[in-house]
């Protein structure tokens, strides 16, 4: 069963990779730049949906873990010579460093989180998110304070430099990483380890009676989730923002991620992707609409900056009250019925 799933997910990932590669090669630099952001958010959202949906632990501090990823990648890239371009090797190592460092931080946070439930956990992770600014300001000689750390530009590797623009290269690396994260996490979800995570979510006592260590499973999940968030943070910092600064990793980023996984449907990797795309492009759509309303510049700026957030807030509330399964859950419920309906209709003919 697992092998079949593995093959299926592998083939799906390869197919998706082909589509993504075509998309990137066809797209303008502007779109490719947007894809980098999508990829970064998808990594973090996939990790978050594993944590919340599969394991039942809520985190409102994933932006802080993304910050860890971005800052550690920045420190690694800046440890080389000051103004040289980052080679492909450097870039991959930087993403790995971001992911691993976030996972290490995740061990500590997860060990605490495993002792907390419900609102306690939500409040503690919220407080973790509030620490980013303080830590970066306090260690400003190392982390650059409010200004943050700028990243060296990345260099397209020589064999590809004729065929790819720098944005296409960045988008390929980002989306490739996102697909890798999705492939790994989806397999994890359907593996015995994933079932342990779900068992702990559904009934802690029952899971314990089956011989599981609830705390160990919860910490493991948190570490995996942090690693995904760290990879997302490294992509966001190195390739999209080209800077790691505290202003980029605020509570709002955590809420964007939460909105993405809740709207997409908790616990579903496909839902995390759909949710992320909706959150990012729906936001852009609102900004575009606002720009065409013909208001004054100040009013337009104000609406464009805040209306998308208000819309996500409303969506969060509506989804939680009306369709707790999100898009993926609703599709999953409706699809079999539709099939059934079509069969009965077809049968009558």
């Amino acid at each position: 069963m697992l092998q079949i799933k593995l093959v299926r997910h592998g083939l799906l990932t390869l197919a998706a990779a082909a589509v993504v590669a075509l998309l990137v090669l066809q797209s303008e630099d502007v779109s490719n730049f947007e894809y980098i952001q999508v990829a970064a958010y998808v990594c973090a959202a996939a990790g978050l949906t594993l944590l919340i949906g599969v394991n039942g632990q809520l985190s409102l501090g994933h932006a802080a873990l993304m910050a860890v990823g971005a800052y550690s990648a920045a420190l690694y890239l800046r440890s080389g010579s000051e103004d040289s371009l980052a080679s492909a090797g450097d870039l991959f190592v930087a993403l790995l460093v971001g992911s691993v460092t976030a996972a290490v931080v995740g061990i500590a946070v997860g060990a605490v989180a495993a002792r907390l439930r419900g609102p306690y956990l939500a409040g503690a992770t919220l407080a973790l998110g509030a620490c980013v600014v303080g830590v970066t300001t306090y260690f400003d000689h190392l982390l650059g304070g409010d200004q943050g750390l700028t990243m060296p530009l990345t260099e397209v590797p020589a064999p590809l430099s004729a065929a790819l623009t720098s944005y296409q290269w960045s988008a390929l690396v980002s989306l490739g990483t996102a697909l890798l994260v999705l492939f790994l996490l989806t397999n994890l979800k359907y593996s015995p380890v994933g079932r342990e995570m779900a068992a702990v979510r559904d009934h802690e006592v029952a899971a314990q009676l089956c011989g599981l260590s609830v705390a160990r499973v919860q910490i493991n999940t948190f570490v995996v989730s942090s690693a995904a968030a760290g990879a997302g943070g490294a992509i966001l910092g190195v390739l999209y923002l080209q800077i790691a600064s505290p202003g980029a990793f605020t509570l709002f980023l955590s809420i964007y991620l939460l909105a993405a996984v809740v709207i997409g449907g908790l616990g579903s990797m496909r839902g995390a992707v759909i949710g992320t795309v909706i959150v990012l492009y729906f936001g852009r759509l609102i900004e575009d609409r606002v720009a065409h309303l013909g208001l004054s510049t100040a009013q337009t700026d104000r609406l464009a900056a805040h209306l998308p957030l208000a819309a996500f807030g409303v969506l969060l509330i509506v989804v939680m009250l009306a369709v707790p399964g999100g898009i993926q859950g609703t599709l999953g419920r409706i699809a079999p019925r539709l099939l059934q309906l079509m069969e009965t209709v077809g049968g009558k003919k």
């Binding site: 919340i52 039942g56 809520l58 409102l60 605490v112 002792r115 907390l116 439930r117 419900g118 609102p119 306690y120 939500a122 409040g123 503690a124 919220l126 407080a127 973790l128 509030a130 620490c131 600014v133 303080g134 830590v135 300001t137 306090y138 009934h203 802690e204 006592v205 509570l251 709002f252 809420i255 939460l258 809740v262 104000r302 609406l303 900056a305 805040h306 209306l307 957030l309 208000a310 996500f312 807030g313 409303v314 969506l315 969060l316 509330i317 939680m320 009250l321 707790p324």
Partner: protein
């Protein structure tokens, strides 16, 4: 020594504000098991209402009263709309709904009033009063302590000496039994949200002018500190929330005074983690088993 006395007094005054946020959270949590993550945003919205009235009428006290009334109204509105069935859902849904409400309120405020800081005046002067050569505290600090003290006493009196207070305690103790005794549990729950809204608005009117000014996210960090205080007190004990608030205020005052003000929120996080790890149920909670 002077510095120590100053930091202590300052910490107690700050702690009074954290205590009122903590009490707003606890009043709701002990009856509905819902932690209202939008409490801070609702308080900021009330403060904006107060500011608008102060600017329009020129009277601080009219604005102050408006803010408190608005806080109560927002509490009732939240309870009767989005949180209507929150106490019957799992623990995840009310948290997400609270976060949703938080960003709706904050972005609505940013759209209506602009994202930049607005000026909200204090009730009294913030010049420090001297006592025997030591700069101690300002009239505004005294007002803060007095206002929070009055509200706490009023609340304690209501809960322990009045019929409605008895009904509130009965509802917190066991909603089903309370309903069987003819208590209108729904009304009592809404009353809890109204009181929480008023107390939260009071905290915002007291803390906002002493901080960076009035902006939509002004209460986010105060909310985290209020939550810390409530957790120290055990999330369902009102006196625990008060002591937790003062403890948090003192800890942060010493941390920022002796270690550097950048570390204020890191200190709060460390404090919160310390309490959660050593005594997750809080220092003053009644002993109840965690339900599974």
């Amino acid at each position: 020594m002077d510095r120590f006395v100053f930091l202590t007094v300052n910490g107690v005054a700050l702690g009074a504000i954290y205590a009122s946020v903590a009490i707003a959270l606890v009043i709701i949590f002990r009856t509905t098991r819902v932690l209202n993550f939008a409490q801070g945003a609702m308080a900021v919205a009330s403060a904006y209402g107060g500011m608008a009235v102060i600017e329009y009428s020129g009277s601080y006290w009219l604005g102050f009263t408006t803010a408190l009334v608005l806080g109560g109204a927002l509490g009732a509105a939240a309870r009767l709309t989005v949180f209507r069935s929150a106490d019957r859902q799992g623990h995840l849904n009310p948290i997400v709904i609270g976060i949703g409400l938080l960003i709706v309120i904050e972005s609505a405020l940013a759209i209506a009033f602009g994202p930049t800081e607005r000026h909200l005046s204090t009730a009294f002067s913030r010049d420090l009063l001297h006592l025997g050569g030591t700069a101690l505290l300002s009239r505004q600090d005294l007002f803060t302590l007095l206002a929070v003290g009055v509200v706490m006493s009023l609340l304690a009196w209501t809960l322990t000496r009045t019929r409605i207070g008895l009904q509130m305690r009965a509802t917190a103790f066991n909603p089903v039994v309370a309903r069987l005794h003819g208590i209108k549990v729904g009304h009592i729950l809404t009353l809890g949200w109204v009181i929480a809204g008023v107390v939260g608005a009071l905290a915002a009117m007291l803390v906002v002018p002493t901080g960076l000014g009035l902006f939509p996210q002004a209460m986010d960090l105060v909310f985290v500190l209020g939550f810390t205080s409530a957790v120290i007190g055990g999330l369902d004990s009102l006196s625990g929330a008060m002591i937790g608030g003062v403890a948090t205020g003192l800890a942060l005052s010493y941390a920022s005074g002796y270690l550097g003000s950048e570390l204020t929120y890191v200190a709060a996080f460390v404090l919160l983690l310390g309490v959660l790890l050593l005594k997750p149920a809080g220092l003053f909670a009644g002993t109840t088993a965690r339900s599974v």
